[in-house]
């Protein structure tokens, strides 16, 4: 179990971020529309996700390890770099920070405005589809992380445990506060997840392409901090560029005008 701990922790953090986003949608639909249709939408999405895991999970572990590492490594690296890109742009001020509280308010306003229509045995079709889409989309990301990490380390069980703990913890916390988990530093978590996905993806992808890493698996202990440092470096650099460009675009103040006149 100790050997699987890094895998469980990585999957836990990545899946917790997705679970928080899904929870925001479920709460918005349930509290403003009706819980029955919300739970029906959530249950339908979970069934679809279970089928995807059931089909893809065993198949992916049967693939030859080299091919699996190459494909999964490439996908993880691309996925991780996407996360890092967004997280760095947010940290530097170029993109609005992901705010669960405001996302929740937007969903609530949209949910209140939509009419209540019964369809296909569901009393509130809007609540059903909103929850179904939200849970399915965030759940797909969880499935992707579980299958790639679990399949690559031939330990799907440990990855499932990490994901299940994340979903349970976030759900219990959501029920306890009955509000979106706005206090969770989601942007910082996304930054960390981006670093982990990029590091593991780079490591496995290169291994799948045939390289032998210096120090074998211990290379990850160097790769993760290096990816973190480079990403932080980009964030600091872009924040400075952003501040400078904002300062240059700002109109001159009264003080500076006076200063120019008197000097």
């Amino acid at each position: 179990m100790t050997a699987a701990l890094p895998l469980v922790l990585t999957v836990f953090v990545a899946c917790a971020v997705e679970a928080i986003e899904a929870l925001t949608i479920v709460l918005a639909a349930g509290l403003t529309r009706q819980w029955r249709s919300t739970f029906q939408g959530m249950a339908a999405a979970l069934v679809v996700l279970a089928v995807i895991v059931g089909v893809l999970g065993p198949t992916i572990t049967l693939l030859p390890l080299t091919a699996l590492r190459l494909v999964v490594g490439a996908l993880l690296a691309i996925f991780g770099l996407q996360w890092l890109r967004k997280a760095i742009l947010r940290a530097a001020g170029y993109k609005a920070r992901h705010d669960e509280a405001s996302a929740y308010l937007r969903e609530v306003a949209a949910a209140k405005a939509a009419p209540e229509v019964a369809k296909r045995g569901v009393s509130d079709w809007y609540a059903f589809t909103l929850t179904f889409k939200g849970v399915l989309l965030e759940g797909l990301e969880v499935v992707f992380i579980v299958i790639t990490f679990g399949g690559n380390q031939h330990n799907l069980g440990a990855a499932v445990v990490g994901a299940a703990i994340a979903v349970v913890v976030v759900t219990v916390a959501g029920i306890a506060v009955r509000a979106p988990l706005a206090k969770v530093p989601e942007n910082a978590l996304k930054f960390v997840v981006g670093i982990m996905l990029t590091s593991f993806g780079t490591f496995w992808g290169a291994e799948g392409a045939g390289v032998k890493w210096p120090g074998n698996d211990a290379a990850l202990l160097v790769l993760v901090p290096v990816v973190a440092l480079v990403s932080l470096g980009y964030a600091v650099w872009l924040r400075r560029v952003h501040r400078l460009s904002q300062a240059a675009a700002r109109p001159p103040t009264a003080f500076s005008e006076t200063e120019e006149v008197t000097s």
């Binding site: 190459l70 490594g73 490439a74 996908l75 690296a77 691309i78 996925f79 770099l81 996407q82 890092l84 890109r85 967004k86 760095i88 742009l89 530097a92 170029y94 797909l140 990301e141 990029t198 780079t202 992808g205 290169a206 799948g208 392409a209 045939g210 390289v211 032998k212 890493w213 210096p214 290379a219 790769l223 290096v226 990816v227 480079v230 990403s231 980009y234 872009l238 560029v241 952003h242």
Partner: protein
Amino acid sequence: MLRALKSFGAFWYDFVIGDDWHVAAIVVAALALTALLVHVAGVNAWWLVPLAAFAALGWSLRRATSGKS
């Protein structure tokens, strides 16, 4: 039917490739080049993929902040 296929494809494109396809292209090209270096030239190019990933990220960020993507 065509619309459903299109939106299905758009969903997976957005899910896997994301906002900047250049990043995905650079990662795939770096992995292909690494495989060539290892299997054809006999060079253990473990450094190539991380360097390509950092370059792709930097380039993509520069494009995003200069309004090119």
